[in-house]
Symmetry: D2
């Protein structure tokens, strides 16, 4: 299905970054779920470009919820979140019409949409489209939290700098969710920012790895064929711009392990079933086993760089060159973090409602 | 959706590995597509355990197509491929009922299905369930080939041994598709088999990395939100047992690249648009750009090992131990390869029909 | 979605009437539901042509369930029911290839499938395809019964003869479900059969109206936009061959009522909410209100008649004539009844599981 | 799927009649389709209450399209149409909270949504929700017209008064689409209005029958199991408030026909295949045959009447009485007409795109 995600709860995205408004309709959330507009705002702040390492675009996100919420609670009917666009400078993008930017969707969208694409600012492909997703995700995150399910993501690696590893999930996830630049070891923020600025000074950009942990998911969720937990989560994660790889548990490191190293032994902790290790990231046979779910995503370096690049002229079908102007982030990984949290939350809500019925999240 | 995959063409899987029959229904393939039963048989041979490094289970795959094919061509109505089971030795699995095997789906399926799971041989979770997928995939692979789209996978790395890299896709993909143990450099097969046997001698198992290349896909396929090419392919790949990570193009290696290194510049090759490099694996903004699509998957080491393992007794809810008997492969990566080719083919058919209509593959 | 029905439970049909086998895969039924093969057999008997007013085709339905059921209960994994075909006489249908039968799908299927259609016996369009639906429906009917939900259908009108109306649902529904020719007033069977035989003697056929009642459905089921109870039920009913109209409650008779006549007043019966009348057939605003659901369908007269008919030659694209040979029923309404009960049951299961989660029917 | 309709093109509705805004997102329409805002406005005018027989509610429909359209053409990305609400008088509805109106969804929605329903003005169930559907339908109607497919509906019967029958589709459909009160014989408008006013004077309401004709549909569209043309059209028609029956061709009248009377013989008209009669309403075996599609729907009398009615108090669970105040239409059938045209258009677009691919409507 296009532009709509979910089997039990449907999330439909609409809008172009330089069009009038962007938004999301959430269809199928149970009635009675609390909606906290301040929390939505704080999540949007984590997504917005701010500070030195983000661009000077003045983006505001004055969202409004126009249906589906009454007296601070969901009514059970579709929720529409709409965010008007402002501060768009179309002229920055006029040149692009014929010269596709390498690493971006300009060329592929042109082929797909045969010239009708709203090209200004990447049209439907802009990172700005993630804004309503973050707003919707905020509602999902809080609904899950009320069921004891917590999601958190840190910048595990960026521009060659590694963050510390998790050592205490509940403590560190709580702290992470209050930070704008999400690292476990606060000292690493300065190191990473410095490396990012260095790349920016070269007119270039950097990427990194995000690590996400989900605690509190009940065991038994997921469908072996074809909607395993990995299938569903990767499906929505690979819609987030710039993500080019997703792994669960030890992921690609398991290529060099033996079975005896990779298996997670079961044991009883009181009356709860747990595993001694968690190489499989909380998922066996595509179904959750109750242990924390661990996901890592690679965020490729931002394609918009200031160096001159080789490209083609799509009109004349001949080689050309391109230098991007305007305002561009040298890194977006620290902002992509809240998008990852959001899509993971939307996905988990959908899976849980499939398992437990439409009233589960009340 | 459970047990059914696809938006335009629907693939539904049924069967338990120790039940009467297993099968797949393919619903939506256009009429007029040639179905070559010999090719289906050769694909099933690549999946079946054979030779020294695979177990001694005598599995046969005498498939039959009971509907949807008439005079060697699809009729346009649902195709049902059914494979009877034989040579099942239920007693090997009786012990399992209460002792979940680490790394397998025994515990999670128990929670999900509350005791009703057909546990014999992993029930619905067995690798054998991939058999009808390979049969169906064979039809898809040939349909795609008739449109100039070629898929091929090699064992890029196994038990610490690396295969050669691709240097000439069309030549190497053609050769790969004739091999049972799919490596580009034939000499590597012996090295890998030796490393696998060493692990087997230790009562252990190994995993590795599969690299898949798809050539000939037209540009413009994919849906930015939420069904990007990466989303759709990873969704079905993560249903294949033992896959724990999927990356596209340079994937996780992009974490340490700069934008100038990761971007793929466009240029004209005659009247065709190409990119000078292919770090993005043929996909920009979730849409194909016409360059070869490159995917890498990690296959974790086979969970069934002969060493004693710690587990629990699910009935008594106390710690226990388990030693697996029966017949188990020390490595399945060389057999997983054809499953990967098959699911990729099914997925591409579905995406192409969404783009070009139900008659595209005729 | 083609050939597959359901949002929460997926039913996929496959097979051609003169192909090897026909079947249905049910994907998503909870584990632990009892499966009674004798009841399935009795339902198939109601569908099969028997006796004087049905044709002499010797159809047998030796079904087998090849997955998803273990020890007489569903396992939660997909259930595959397969029925081999026998006693097919292809030669009866050879002539048809170019001469479409009026009222049948011959011409439209030809256009749809461009000549690849398996034309023998109507291919995928044959009434025989309803066989696996009745088998699957039997499982659904019993699952619903275990939750206190009862479905029953009578031949309300046939060949101008009216059955009695319902006066005591629970008593009459129970009796109906034991009858092969489902009428409330047994005396009407002979009258209807006589009228049918009269049409048969003229080489012609008749139709009629089926009235279905469902008791015990909880209130609150249905989705106002776009999956109302009427939408879902009509959707699947209009897939049953020969049904050309569906109405709920007083249906088309409401065209001439005033609001004061058509509205159903609410009242308390103890602590249960009921309505004094039931003009709306148990559904308000697309959602069940707890009163019996009442549906009427028109079954058009069987298109296969023995009189000569005008048609075209699809090959030469010129006018032609056709006289149908072989074995054909002068009426199928009494056999369509169990198909209606079956599809209604499948649909209700799907809706209930959407509302109450995948475990509802256990 | 809830609140979302379509297999290939997805239409998602959101909004409450007394909430801030209502709207629809259309996801999957090809790029390059002309969007005429004046035509959308004229369609909305047909839906809005106007004149003597409609209530005095001052509803305005100042719609805006906030995405998916650029320079008067669709871009291929989701189209969002948003309509702000105004002139809402919540106090009219406060009393309703505990006293469900007979014939309305008050009680059933209460059960479904457990008290969270936004009850003001029927919440999500209000007829006003049809406004964005009509706006979206306008885009679909014009897209279909550009492919030679024309839809039109007349009030066949209302309050016991019959309109003339069709005698020349192309002429009469064209005229109908310019009328606000859609009758073939203009003289009938006055008769019907008079009968409606008589009911209104009694504090009561009336219903009727709408007859819809679609010309120009290509043959071969529809999926025998389970998405026949009748299935798809009835599915969306039964979502329109007040529709309680749908029939195709001669529908329920076929109950009393013989096969020789009901069959439509084929003949050649030049090189086009046609049928001499059209009892089957253009559909054979669930697939279009190229003849005009004929549909009839019954619209029940408006449930909101001024007479006192018996009901219950949902809070105290005891019998009660209710007299509805505020502004209510004695008939809505003449306004439901454009809603029927709209949903039929949305449905046909979806079916055609499934058959011919996403670019069909360009």
């Amino acid at each position: 299905m296009k532009n709509t995600f979910g089997n039990n709860i449907h999330f439909t995205l609409f809008g172009e970054s330089h069009g009038q408004e962007i938004g999301m309709v959430i269809d199928g959330l149970a009635p009675g779920i609390k909606v906290d507009e301040d929390f939505i705002k704080s999540q949007l702040d984590k997504r917005r470009p701010q500070g030195k390492i983000s661009t000077a675009r003045q983006e505001l996100d004055p969202f409004r919820i126009v249906s589906g919420v009454f007296n601070g609670e969901t009514t059970g009917t579709p929720i529409a979140i709409i965010i008007p666009n402002s501060n768009t400078k179309s002229k920055d993008y006029a040149k692009l019409k014929d010269l596709p930017r390498p690493g971006h969707a300009d060329y592929t969208a042109e082929v797909k949409y045969h010239g009708f694409q709203d090209y200004r600012g990447g049209g439907h492909f802009s990172g700005r489209i993630t804004t309503p997703i973050v707003a919707a995700g905020a509602i999902a995150i809080e609904a899950l939290r009320s069921k004891g399910i917590v999601i958190g993501t840190h910048v595990k690696r960026c521009a060659g700098v590694d963050d510390a590893d998790f050592s205490n999930y509940s403590e560190e996830l709580a702290k992470l969710n209050d930070k704008t630049f999400a690292v476990i070891d606060d000292a690493k923020e300065a190191e990473m920012v410095s490396a990012i600025e260095k790349a920016a000074a070269d007119g270039d950009s950097v990427g990194g790895i995000l690590e996400t942990v989900i605690t509190g998911m009940p065991a038994g969720v997921g469908e072996p064929w074809f909607d395993t937990v990995e299938s569903e989560l990767s499906h929505i994660l690979f819609s987030v711009p710039a993500i080019k790889g997703v792994e669960f548990g030890d992921g690609f490191a398991m290529a060099d392990m033996r079975g005896s190293e990779a298996n997670d032994s079961f044991y009883m902790d009181g009356d709860k079933v747990k595993t001694k290790t968690n190489h499989n990231g909380g998922i066996n046979g595509g179904i959750t086993n109750g242990m924390p779910i661990v996901i890592k995503c690679v965020v490729k370096p931002t394609p918009s760089i200031y160096k001159e690049q080789d490209t083609i002229d799509m009109n004349k079908l001949e080689d050309s060159k391109l230098t991007i102007e305007g305002r561009h982030d040298p890194a977006i990984i620290h902002r992509a973090r809240v998008v990852v949290d959001s899509v993971v939350a939307l996905c988990l809500c959908d899976m849980l409602c499939g398992r437990y019925g439409t009233d589960y999240l009340k």
